[in-house]
């Protein structure tokens, strides 16, 4: 009797979630027939937006990993005054409406902004450039990598670290040879989530970087503009964006499996 209730609850949850997530996504994918969809894939405007999206989201991910890894390491290994505050600060971009994030970036790095005025003296302007797109994406997507990397580094068994210490390994060496390899799967997953979030970024980008084809018009912006004129073009772009995201997210889900297989193969070697 209890078992039946249990199953009923799971079934209801599944059905509800399917209606909420599966149905709309399915509706987008099936809206335009595959042949018409393929015919639109060669559209130069779409390819330009796609290229820009891939380049900027890759740069944003690299930037987040480079700046986020030291912070994740710090949060995972040390305790210091203000740690909680730093954690909250890092999580804030997830809560902030992206448009507000874009405005905040403008107020800081815009022509009349706090840092922007100093940059302008040096002849550098950031808004309306591809760099602004990368900054907007990095701002919004950074928490995903930092929290995953922090969790991964924090989950490394202390006994391994103690063993490394008894062998007189420096903290830097321990990080490179023990912590990073063990935390690699979570860092990879975090980086992929950051990339996926950067790929879908809209609000901060259009506010901070504007919308100019070939310079700042990424896929989500192109979809929004197309939506006002040509519904099917917008759908074709959305399907392409979804396919990309599915590809990346699925490969992360599968990566622990093949990473594990790789490790086992290495262990078997004499």
């Amino acid at each position: 009797m209890r078992d039946a209730g249990h199953r009923l609850l799971i079934g209801l949850g599944l059905a509800g979630l399917f209606l909420l997530l599966g149905l709309p996504l399915g509706a987008v994918v099936t809206r335009v027939p595959p042949a018409a969809l393929l015919a639109r894939m060669g559209d130069p405007a779409l390819l330009e937006a796609l290229r820009l999206s891939l380049v900027t989201s890759a740069c944003a991910t690299a930037l987040v990993v480079a700046l986020g890894l030291p912070v994740a390491y710090l949060l995972a290994t040390r305790s210091f005054p203000g740690k909680r505050l730093l954690e909250v600060l890092i999580d804030l971009p997830m809560v902030l409406p992206p448009t507000v994030a874009g405005l905040a970036l403008l107020l800081a790095f815009g022509r009349a902004g706090i840092a922007g005025r100093a940059l302008a003296v040096a002849g550098i302007t950031i808004p309306f450039t591809t760099i602004a797109v990368v900054l907007a994406q990095a701002f919004i997507a950074a928490p995903f990598f930092i929290s995953a990397a922090r969790a991964g580094l924090g989950a490394v068994d202390v006994r391994y670290l103690d063993a490394a210490a008894t062998l007189r390994a420096t903290p830097g060496r321990t990080l490179l040879t023990v912590m990073l390899p063990l935390a690699f799967p979570s860092m990879l997953a975090g980086a992929a989530m950051t990339w996926a979030r950067a790929l879908g970024e809209f609000g901060a980008t259009i506010t901070f970087a504007g919308n100019l084809p070939g310079v700042t018009q990424t896929m989500p912006l192109a979809v929004y503009v197309a939506l006002q004129r040509d519904l099917d073009a917008a759908v074709a772009m959305s399907v392409l964006l979804l396919a990309l995201a599915v590809g990346v997210l699925l490969s992360i889900r599968l990566s622990p499996t093949w990473l594990g297989l790789l490790d086992r193969a290495r262990d078997r070697r004499p």
Binding site: R2, R111, A112, L227
Partner: protein
Amino acid sequence: MTLPRWSWVLAAAAAVAALALAGGAGDGRRGPVLTVFAAASLTEAFEELGARYRGGHPDVAVRFNFAGSHQLAAQLEHGARADVFASADLRWMERVARLGLAAGTPSVFARNRLVVIAPAEGSAAVHTPEDLARPGLRLVLPAEAVPAGSYGRRVLRALAEAPAAVGGYERRVLANVVSEEESVRGVVAKVLLGEADAGLVYRSDVTPAVAARLRVIEIPPSANAVASYPIAALAASGHPDAARAFVELVHGAEGRAILRRHGLMPVPDTP
């Protein structure tokens, strides 16, 4: 699964409470609620019209949905319930009327013209529409897909064909574009923040709230493209009389005065 029995009672109570709250929201009224779908560029003018309408019909509550005309048309097409639709563009109203959603024939109640805006302080680079061609100027336009954007490009073409125009005017202006915003309000924001040296918007977008911080540069009427704003009561309205009264207010002398105050050109006054 060993959930205690009372947890089910609690869940049921929560569900009932949620339903009661959802059903009760907006139900603290006595009379009908008039729902008006209006183009984003009408926001301030229609809010004032709504207040005036309530003055004459205290039993009717007025509720607005302001968005891009295309978004509103799409919402109506997919079953959104509304009593009145006011569009910034004839095309979207025609679509709604063709689908049989309008009650009667839509009527144009106002027109709007484009102006060049520049920050009131700082760079004094732009004084005439000709200055838009100056090299290195940072210009922001509405995207071509939104009505203001297609009007804007028509204006640039007309300015380029004027006898006094500098050579390659249109090409040089378009080379200065740093962003194509998804709405006119986006253009206003970029100019207000000083990120752009100039922008092209509707006269009605220079609202009292921002007028002091913007400089308005008029475009000669001969080159200016004019946007038409049609309005219609909707066939699905549950309160056809209230809907018709709202449309009449917009067309009436009082309504025209309000529209004019917000930078729009009421139709009977327009040549």
